[in-house]
Symmetry: C2
Subunit: 572 residues, 2 copies
């Protein structure tokens, strides 16, 4: 420890102290806390190198996510700055830097200009102790009067449909608040292609998409800070992941070329910049780290998923599928990683389905059909009366219809069955999940032939993409399949198998892992080394472009079938 102020002179260093610390440290005021007994009140500084860093604290909620270690890019350094005198005249900035050099041996620090502007007043506030927040031990990004230990950061996952924000305590690694919001760009289009097209075809379109996204992030920051009762200006770092279009919109980068072959992004490398330059309302000197992208449709969210699951460190290959409007798929292990993106369409999120809806209260999320009687029981979100079907509900319903023999392998309704639940409408047959009397909307909630076809398109895109990657790895046996994305957590692995969501590749285990991308962003926020790891992942991962691939076309057509349906058919 360093004894900085005391009313009394201290006893001279003991022999043990002289041995342990040496002349140099003793001269700089270091003492052993176990040997030095001050007789009066004293101000004691525990130097950085004597502090214990806590380890592995973030609870991931699942064994399939990588544990976090704490080594953030920012840290607090308390420091005593003497006032300027006529005899030892030194400018404010130079006095502060000298004090940091003398206390921590830190050299060549820069000072953020926004801190410089406040420096003269803070240094004359009457305090002698100040807290500098340092970024990478290179730059002073905050300066406060007095000694403070708080260190806050935020992680963001910007999805096409949902934006999630995590306020983290960077000293303990604890998640202090998690907030989410609908992506405010939805009015400009459900999928990124329509938003890119909006941005391209309207004057100032890019800014019209950027501004609401930024507003959304700032609202989440304000909400999270309010929940924890801190001022947003005390949040000193942020790590952001998102798909490439969201990343480009937020950075104000041209997006139109993402929608045109060869779909080249403006940039892919990780970017570290001032949060204020993105427009984020947090600490005025705070930094923002945008994790690296891979391609036009494989964004930093996919890289963050790999980081979070650690599949790039495992011996046996894992298949990682992000179920969303754009389904990113990654396959590989510590030796090799391949990825692709498939335009699954909105079916997995309940879009373009007759009774489809987002995962909200009243949405059917699970369906059971008794094979003998075709009796149906459904589970809804929050147990409310059913009002529609969300993505996992659609998968569950179709899987049950296959197992009950209602649907055949081509996705068509069996002509052999008769049941009041099988209706013949103008647009083809439909299956009644919930009778009007039991529903919350006073109409029959049905699955139509068209809905089944939409799911077939979506699952076939994922199936074909996964198959193509599997072939690239010479059909090596896959040990595990992980389903990420907001819906991923709720898809029943058995249902996923029944609808042939992916090729049978020897997997022993299928798991939903929730928002792995957001978790990956938290890892990068808590531990700077994870950022370098993300960069290496982005470099290593091989990208397969599916558009224009003949093999993908063939696999896509093949994947439309419900191959498993035959088994159930024979039973029947």
């Amino acid at each position: 420890v360093i004894i900085q102020e005391t009313g009394q002179t201290l006893p001279p260093p003991s022999e043990h102290e002289r041995e342990t610390l040496g002349q140099d440290l003793l001269r700089r005021g270091y003492r052993l806390a176990c040997e030095t007994v001050p007789a009066h009140d004293a101000t004691v500084l525990v130097p950085e190198e004597s502090r214990v860093r806590p380890q592995i604290i973030l609870t991931s909620g699942t064994d399939y996510l990588y544990p976090a270690r704490l080594q953030p890019e920012i840290e607090n350094c308390p420091v005593q700055v003497p006032p300027a005198t006529l005899q030892h005249l030194k400018a404010d900035r130079e006095r502060l830097l000298t004090a940091l050099f003398e206390t921590y041996g830190l050299k060549r620090l820069s000072v953020d200009p926004v801190i410089l502007r406040k420096l003269p007043k803070i240094l004359r506030s009457g305090h002698r102790g100040f807290t500098c927040t340092l970024w990478r031990r290179k730059e002073i990004i905050a300066l406060q009067e007095g000694i403070h230990e708080d260190l806050f950061g935020m992680a963001f996952d910007m999805g096409t449909t949902t934006v999630v924000a995590y306020l983290m305590d960077l000293r303990s690694g604890q998640e202090l608040s998690v907030r989410s919001a609908m992506n405010p760009q939805i009015p400009f289009g459900d999928d990124v292609i329509s938003r890119i097209s909006y941005a391209q075809n309207h004057p100032g379109g890019l800014e019209r998409l950027r501004a609401p996204m930024l507003q959304c992030l700032n609202t989440l920051i304000a909400e999270a800070a309010a929940e924890v009762r801190i001022d947003p200006s005390r949040i000193m770092e942020t790590a952001l992941v998102g798909n490439t279009a969201m990343h480009h919109f937020l950075m104000g980068l041209e997006t139109r070329y993402l929608a045109l072959a060869p779909y080249a992004p403006a940039l892919t490398d990780a970017q570290t910049l001032k949060a204020r330059d993105l427009g984020l309302d947090m600490g005025p000197g705070a930094y923002a780290h945008m994790l690296p992208l891979k391609a036009g449709f494989v964004g930093s969210d996919a890289i963050a998923c790999i980081l979070a699951t650690g599949i790039h460190r495992k011996k046996r290959p894992t298949l990682l599928i992000d179920l969303g409007t754009n389904g990113e798929i990654v396959l590989g292990n510590r030796d090799r990683l391949v990825c692709c993106s498939t335009a699954a369409g909105p079916a997995f999120e309940g879009g373009h389905i007759k009774w489809g809806m987002r995962a909200a209260p009243g949405a059917i999320e699970r369906v059971r059909i008794r094979k003998e009687t075709l009796e149906v029981s459904v589970e809804t979100i929050h147990d409310e009366p059913p009002v529609g079907i969300c993505g996992s509900g659609l998968i569950s319903a179709v899987a049950e219809m296959i197992r009950a023999g209602v649907l055949l392998s081509r996705g068509n309704f069996s002509g052999d069955m008769e049941s009041p639940r099988i209706l013949q409408g103008e647009d083809g047959p439909a299956f009644v999940l919930v009778w009007a009397a039991d529903s919350g909307v006073e109409q029959d909630i049905v699955i139509t032939q068209r809905d089944v076809a939409a799911l077939q398109m979506a699952k076939s895109a994922v199936h074909a993409g996964a198959r193509l990657l599997w072939e690239a790895l010479d059909n090596e046996r896959v040990s595990r399949i992980l389903l990420a994305g907001a819906g991923g957590n709720y898809v029943d692995p058995r249902d996923a198998r029944t609808i042939d969501l992916f090729p049978p590749c020897g997997e022993k285990d299928i798991r939903g892992i929730g928002n792995a991308a957001g978790y990956g962003a938290c890892l990068a926020l808590l531990d700077g080394r994870k950022r370098r790891e993300a960069e290496r992942i982005a470099e290593r991962t091989e990208y397969r472009e599916l558009s224009g691939s003949r093999r993908f076309q063939d696999l896509f057509v093949e994947g439309m079938f419900f191959a498993q349906a035959r088994d159930y058919q024979e039973d029947f």
Copy 2:
């Protein structure tokens, strides 16, 4: 040279080429221009390392200023960037960086975010050749379609009274345009102390002083660019010097503590930042370099004067005096440099003098008095009818009055002389320089006893400061005295001696050197090494605080006298 495109295959490398260039360069497309004769049209790139850098071009107009060498911090790098393809998919930024690596071996370049925003469009403009402007071979600060060689920069000297701007060609070192303007802060006070006090006592005062200064710089940029017919956005670097208060105002730093003991600046080290962050309207990626300061009243203008005159490299000591409202004084040689600042008051700029005025047409700048008859002849700026007296005119008039025996050593009028030119007014005697009939204002233009006293105060401050520094150097013989500042060029060395502007310190030579600070800023703009040199000068130079110095008080009282007057008196 690198042959980049040709309709025809080239002859194989000659033996001489193989020897000179080696396998590695040949593989990268290098050829000897003297050996390779293309049979058809070809695009040939002259690589950076083959280009000749011109030397010593800036004409200083005087032998006492240091010659400039060209080694700016920015350079143009022409580069070919291939389009993205599905087969070799790479993001725009990464394709550009790869091309720069392959052409110049440049690694780890960053790209200014404002350039990133334009990157996708520029790379798809149909050109294959582009020009990157690099800053310190570290960052891409501009990107243009096609091959361009233009490289422009601006230097600024921000004085309390005058702001001067220089538009420079960074390829040739030539001065393309010099513009000046009155400091628009003058309405807030003639001297920096009154401006600091305004900033302190009015809400938003700092910004009310910063905004007009910034506006002034931007007007000068626009005027200079218009004169040379370029767009201001093509100016890619700027170096700025000024006194500490001007520096702080422009950077938005708190100035109030500059006016309170111990007069500590917010910072003194050189600052390099984006020109846009200062608010300057030039290239959107351009950098601004603020040269280092020494103390609250010794600014980067004083450091730039030392840099420009090279007194820090000479064997024999030089005394450097900047004649202004705040007179900075530097004394020293290659071994030691000491400096101080004296509050001379506005007399040297014609302020607070009965007929005082700034150096404008009609201002008396030189006076001759025939000792026998007290006949007076005057020279005015632009030879216009006299309307007032500027700083050098005041010095000249007082010096002549001493030599003619009109003024005695204490600065009082001789009681022995009778002449119609010596009037007795209510406020004491006055001397008529120009009769009403000959003046441009139809009144007698006179020097009053009060005017003489004001000059005595001003010159005594400089005299005492210089003497104190001289004593710090053990009264070592000074080889040369340089008078800088807008007025410095026009002060007659003999007049300066007669009024005892500085102690007699053995100097052989006294010279006016004009705006040496502006010249120093140009040096720093043209040659990055001069910036490091300025930093070393600022570090090396010892600052003497005069306020509170007992010795300075004594010297100040002593220096009020016109010591030389006695010689003329005895003659009489």
